[in-house]
């Protein structure tokens, strides 16, 4: 029952709700749908230029023979990036959350520091690691020199992409950890005491109490990081600008539409659609298994 009056007064919540709703439809939902449409056209960023429907031409171009290798590489890297980030970020985040939850001295400080990169943002975090991994005598290079080797780091075709993955995890591990910590704090400590009395501790307590009890925060973390990892590309933009074999599908969407000398909106939209298929399929599969696991426990 709505308590704030009848007649005209009943319409106020609708009126207020319509503002965010309108913004969402005009700038979010609508453009998402139009992306589907755009992907079947030859629209460009050139002002006043006519455009027309060209069927599946953009998709054919994407998988076309001339650059099929590059495109498949970008798809492969997108998946590699997503799996590496999701697994490592959550594993490390959960592990650190469990350690910090042991009421170590200074736990508030650790929490604050691990979350700090989220606050610093991608530009600052990226440049900080550029500085640390400066090939001309930065600390990372000094360390490698000590072991008698050296590297170009973000300028090295073989490891640039792995380094980007590392920085991405470094940035967001604290976020996963924070969500896990909140989940861990809801577990009553007498559960562990009871388990301890029964002779279960360490790994057994983890698999039988901790892991089942944090199922909701596990689901949230997994989903957020899967979707995030498949869609993010700002870290690539900042660290390598897509050079040195570091492009992904998400980066390709940006580069095809807004990169230097490129304004192919049709093709970029087709890439966005292919990216969408991956995001949708993978997150639905993940959601299915995660929910199933939640129900079982």
């Amino acid at each position: 029952m709505y308590p704030f009056g009848k007649g005209k007064a009943r319409l106020i919540p609708y009126l207020y709700l319509s503002i965010p709703l309108l913004l969402y439809v005009v700038f979010g939902f609508g453009p998402s749908l139009v992306t589907v449409l755009f992907s079947f056209t030859d629209a460009t960023g050139v002002r006043g230029q006519e455009w027309s429907f060209i069927g599946f031409e953009n998709y054919k171009t994407f998988f076309g023979a001339s650059n099929a290798g590059d495109r498949l590489d970008a798809i492969g890297r997108s998946l590699y990036f997503a799996f590496a980030v999701v697994i490592i970020q959550n594993a490390v985040g959960l592990f650190m959350a469990i350690l910090i939850n042991k009421k170590l001295r200074g736990d508030k400080l650790y929490r604050a520091v691990f979350f700090l990169p989220v606050v610093l943002g991608v530009t600052v975090s990226g440049l900080i690691w550029q500085l640390v991994a400066n090939p001309l005598g930065g600390p990372a290079q000094s360390l490698l020199n000590f072991f008698g080797t050296s590297s170009n780091f973000f300028g090295d075709y073989n490891i640039a992409f792995e380094l980007i993955i590392f920085v991405q995890i470094w940035m967001y591990m604290g976020y996963s950890m924070t969500i896990f910590l909140a989940g861990l704090q809801t577990i009553p400590s007498d559960l562990y005491e009871a388990a301890y009395m029964d002779g279960a501790s360490g790994w057994k307590a983890f698999t039988n109490i901790t892991f089942p009890m944090i199922a909701p925060s596990f689901t949230v973390n997994m989903l957020l990081s899967i979707i995030g990892a498949l869609q993010t590309f700002d870290i690539i933009y900042v660290l390598t600008g897509g050079k040195f074999n570091t492009t992904t599908l998400a980066f390709d969407v940006y580069a095809t539409a807004f990169g230097s000398g490129s304004a192919d909106y049709g093709l970029a939209s087709a890439v966005a659609m292919i990216q969408f298929l991956f995001v949708f399929t993978i997150s639905m599969i993940a959601l299915f298994y995660l929910r199933k696991r939640e129900v079982e426990v």
Partner: protein, 272 residues
Amino acid sequence: MKQSRTSRTISYIIVLLMLALYVFPLFYLFNVSMKTQTEYLLNPVALTEGIRLENFAEAWTKGSFSQYMWNSVLYTGMSTLLTLILSIFAAFPLARRYVKFSTLIYIFFLISMYLPNPLIPQFSLINQLGLYNTQTGYILLKTTGTGIAFLMFVGYIKSVSRELDEAAAMDGCGYTRYLFTILVPLMKPILATGIILTAIGVWNDIIGPTIYLSDPNYQPVTKGLFTFYGQYMNNWPLLACGILIVTLPLVVLYVALQRFIVGGAMAGAVKS
């Protein structure tokens, strides 16, 4: 529960090693920012020979950070304020089911995460509306009533007793007055989290300004820093100062609101 001493010691060692991985780059950044260019070139890794605050003044002028900084403050302040108001407008009636099809509308808002990237049509639209390269356009783009703040608010409002609405209405309090004089004060902790997470998102965005703001006079500090990086790639002490300048305002805000983050991140996350 009793924990063995060795297990605690090992925990400390792991946490401290991890801490080093986070603190060292920041410490190194600070160290470099204090050096002269010669000092840096001779030995980048060595400790600085003195405190040189004048490096910051130099970076501030050379990077024209005052203009960028003002733009960032403007965008972040306006978008965050509008986002919070719109999120309350959306979250309250949906959490209480005071409008028809509440669940459906809620799901409608949620699916945006999974939908195709709206970037390209969005850009065309902004262009057609004449909002490309304008401050108003950018603030509008960064304002949303259906983002992370909205999700957190829905969860939080559900935990606020419904009877409060009824009691206030009995006393003749209208919908608008209820939202701003009774509900908002009750939402303080989650508002703080909403503010910091929304502000972080707007302040730190680098792709948005790259696409929507080509005029340097309108660009925020992230884009300014990135341009600065392009110009002074070889002068790391100056660059390090620039990075610290960009970092400082958010770190201050973060330290002030830090205690709200853990609770808030969870409140929004699990209930969504």
